[in-house]
Symmetry: C2
């Protein structure tokens, strides 16, 4: 009983902070994206590919979530956009309060789009609202085409799925149609993009989709 009570409090506290974050984003007209995926799925590499395209047209900032190290923030800083590293000290997900601290260090008034790269974990982060308007999930072909049904939280209730590292598909027996079918079963409306940060495949399409979402405002996003 006590466990359930406390977990409810944890989620309630998070949801309150998330609502505050969302209100602040709305007030300042910033679109916020929560980027989710397993460790090494290619979240940072995807940002390295799409942020330079986006930042030609809109003002982009990034919050980088990690257990330890500032490596990902350094990679994003090299793109010459504002970035803050959020460290969970071993924690398995970002929460809305930590994001609140992060945005206090960013000049939100100077941004059109804030991307929050979550901790590399295909499970826990999906349970925590950060105040985002949109969720994008990343699945790399090297993880396997059987993963959507095995990790359903990562694909339900997201607005887009990026299938990354498609340049490696010939080496790993990844059946793209099987993966897409599994994603569609869990989430019929998500936009799905096949991408490779290495070759650039799908990068333009992904950046254009994100830009269109920022343009058309929030709350009415459906699959592309």
């Amino acid at each position: 009983m006590m466990k359930i009570e406390t977990l409810r409090n944890v989620f309630e506290k998070n949801d309150q902070a998330a609502d505050q974050n969302r209100a602040e984003f709305n007030r300042l007209d910033v679109t916020c994206v929560n980027l989710l995926g397993g460790a090494g799925a290619g979240k940072t590499a995807t940002l390295e590919a799409i942020v330079p395209q986006l930042s030609k047209r809109i003002r982009v900032g990034v919050l980088e979530g990690d257990l330890a190290t500032t490596r990902d923030a350094e990679r994003i800083a090299a793109l010459d956009v504002p970035v803050v590293q959020l460290l969970t000290d071993g924690g398995c997900h970002l929460n809305a309060t930590l994001v609140q601290h992060g945005i206090a260090s960013l000049a939100l008034t100077d941004l059109d789009l804030l991307v929050i790269e979550n901790v590399g974990n295909p499970i826990c982060p999906a349970n925590f609202d950060l105040g985002e308007h949109l969720r994008i999930s990343v699945l790399s072909v090297t993880e396997g085409d059987d993963k959507p049904q095995k990790y359903p939280l990562l694909f339900k209730n997201v607005d887009a799925v990026l299938i990354t590292k498609c340049d490696l598909a010939p080496y790993v027996n990844f059946d793209i149609e099987r993966a897409k079918g599994e994603i569609r079963t869990l989430n019929p409306t998500a936009a799905i993009f096949e991408t490779s940060a290495k070759t650039g495949v799908g990068v333009h399409e992904t950046a254009a989709w994100i830009q269109s979402v920022v343009r058309r405002g929030r709350g009415a996003v459906t699959g592309a």
Copy 2:
């Protein structure tokens, strides 16, 4: 305060069940391995490669941990060894009580080695003792050579690390020496094996190491 209290209770309850599991393994002279790693890191593929080698010489059983589906248990069952699928229903880690239910469905008296494949998650499972004698972690080259320091929980306090999918190393700029250096900084004594379930590289060595650990008993394992 309430949160801390309750989390302590959760861990205490888990540790009690883990101790019971370990006592049962010791009583029946079964060596238990907890296999950890991210989603799609190659845990099941590694078992598909090494279990046939091990099962020629010792009696092997497997508990398969997943959020959803019985896919992994089906792959292991095809190897003709006893297997039980443990489903967490969305939970991010196995706990010792779920393992207790699993071993009740296995004839432990007929086993020398029990491998528990944990849920694909590089963070949370490391916090939960299942009653195992040994931990083996899996890192795939496609996840990147920077991951040990970024996910330290997965590499501290483990007895061996398998670097998997080494056949893909030429395509992903994985610096094996950098990865090994980071692992050694976190854990100077872990045995490290470079493996590929696809080409068979390192499979014999990994199986031989596991067999040697089963032979020489438990509790005195150091790096190979």
